[in-house]
């Protein structure tokens, strides 16, 4: 590994460690499907409603149902209050989540319908879009929506010259020394191990980029395990 300025993580994790995770399905009994997913201090909840008839009618697709994702951070999710309501960033994250999930969800059996996924972030400490995608995948599965496979998501990045997995808020946006920080959210499908979403915020070399993707794949396996556990043990306490 290259000698860099960033030698140790604040919370004592190794550079390739994921923050402690927690996942649960069935948190909203009145919905068709719901789930929560936490990594460290980041917490996401997702609620699925549908398939149901889509209105306005001109948005309907006669060949397949469509997926519609909305993402939002709650006003109290960060230290400064966030102005509630849609904004440019929330719209974009909702859209990329929708694209990532569309690659596994199969709604061809429900033409003219919509499946709504609502992702909310009650507590944010970086990596909210990947936590949101993990929660949304769980909620979709819990809603009984046909899916070819699951998806797991992780934020991988580079801090100065060091490659790190699962950046927290300090590493993501407050670290400015040396080469600064780079953040790469990766969404990986569970069976075919294909990349469903890949974004890049910052600078990184091609070789490092390849290495980052390998790190992400390893981390996604850990996340998948947590997701599977949440679904397999759901019957004990909930039946939403």
């Amino acid at each position: 590994m290259v000698e860099g300025l960033y030698k140790k993580r604040e919370d004592g994790r190794k550079f390739t460690d994921v923050r402690p995770m927690k996942a649960k399905v069935g948190i909203v009994p009145s919905a068709d499907g719901s789930a929560s997913f936490e990594t460290g201090k980041t917490k996401a909840i997702a609620v699925v409603r549908g398939p149901r008839t889509l209105h306005p009618q001109h948005m309907q697709n006669a060949q397949t149902g469509i997926l519609r994702v909305s993402y939002g951070m709650m006003p109290f999710s960060v230290e400064d209050r966030i102005r509630p309501g849609p904004n440019r960033r929330a719209e974009e994250i909702g859209k990329v989540t929708e694209w990532a999930l569309s690659s596994v969800v199969d709604l061809s059996g429900f033409p003219n319908t919509v499946v709504d996924v609502f992702v909310q972030i009650p507590q944010a400490d970086a990596g909210t879009r990947v936590a949101g995608i993990n929660a949304a995948a769980l909620a979709l599965a819990h809603a009984g929506i046909p899916m070819k496979e699951m998806v797991s998501a992780i934020g991988v990045g580079k801090i100065d010259k060091t490659l790190v997995v699962d950046l927290d808020k300090y590493e993501d946006s407050l670290y400015h020394d040396g080469e600064g920080s780079t953040d790469i959210p990766i969404v990986l499908t569970s069976r075919t191990k294909e990349i469903a979403l890949l974004q890049l915020d910052g600078k990184i070399s091609v070789d490092e980029f390849k290495e980052v993707i390998e790190l992400g794949k390893v981390a996604c396996d850990d996340i998948l395990k947590v997701q599977m556990d949440a679904l397999k043990n759901a019957g004990d306490s909930t039946n939403g």
Binding site: V25, G26, P29, D32, G33, G50, P51, R52, T53, G65, V104, D106, S108, G109, F110, P111, N112, T113, A141, H142, A143, G144, I145, P146, M147, K148, E149, M150, T189, S190, R191, Q227, M228, L231, K232, A234, G235, D236, S237, T238, N239, G240
Partner: protein
């Protein structure tokens, strides 16, 4: 008979269970079973040598036929289901019925058990009225319904209780034991729609409210082990009797009683 008979029955049940199916909870993308001799059915697809789940539920392998039965989520209509819904539209040759599924069900005039004047269809079924119908056919574009058999028709009086579609098997109970118990104890007529709507109709409101309380209790405790005993106790606490019906031993670790 008595306790001995119950025991015999349980043994017989568990034996048939082992023979017919191995049950396991599967996640989308998970291999249910490997081998080219297995056939993917509802909720499963083939990937090379493997049969893979494409939804979350209980894997059910019966004579090389692999199905995944959902344990949560919205109601998906199946042929032959009894459902309870409300009229949302009247077309020139039938009614559209909202039953809480992805699409509305269509009930043609021809599938109604009496003569209906096509110019005055609202005379028979008007907007907002509730009906008990049978799912005749499920297509990707909607559901065709029928009303032409005994037990189906327009709902008049009583009350409709909404529970989740996944709680329905517990309300019905093994071979209808639970619903028989409610009927016997309260004297109410109880019709369970597979879409999670329960119609209760009795001689007076007190009986109906009692039946509703029991139904809601079962729905809230659908995953509890030994539910039958708890319901019996609840009926006793209400000052009602369960003795009229013979209750068949219930296997409680069964999630779906199809």
């Amino acid at each position: 008979m008595g306790a001995n008979g119950c025991q015999e029955r349980i043994i017989r049940l568990s034996r048939t269970k082992i023979k017919m199916a191995k049950r396991q909870i599967v996640v989308p993308g998970e291999t249910v079973v490997s081998g080219n001799e297995f056939l993917p059915g509802d909720g499963a697809y083939r990937d090379g040598n493997n049969v893979v789940a494409n939804r979350y539920g209980i894997a059910n392998i019966f004579e090389k036929h692999v199905r995944v039965v959902p344990v949560s989520g919205a109601y998906y209509p199946k042929r032959g289901n009894t459902i309870i819904g409300t009229i949302v539209d009247i077309t020139f040759n039938g009614w559209l019925i909202d039953f809480g599924g992805a699409q509305n069900a269509f009930l043609p005039v021809a599938e109604v058990p009496r003569y209906v004047n096509k110019n005055e269809m609202a005379e028979f079924l008007n907007f907002g009225e509730s009906v008990i119908i049978k799912v005749w056919d499920v297509k990707s574009r909607g559901v065709d319904a029928s009303m032409k058999m005994r037990g189906f028709g327009k709902i008049e009086g009583g009350m409709i209780v909404s529970v989740g579609p996944n709680q329905v098997p517990r309300i019905i109970g093994r071979e209808g034991s639970m619903v028989k118990m409610i009927k016997g104890a309260t004297g109410c007529d109880v019709t369970v729609g597979q879409n999670g709507k329960v119609w209760i109709s009795g001689k007076n409101t007190d009986n109906e409210v009692n039946a509703r309380k029991i139904v809601e209790f079962i729905a809230d405790n659908a995953v509890v082990v030994g539910l039958t005993e708890k319901v019996e106790k609840m009926i006793g606490d209400m000052g009602l009797k369960t003795s009229e019906v013979e209750v068949i031993a219930e296997n409680t670790d069964e999630v779906s009683a199809e």
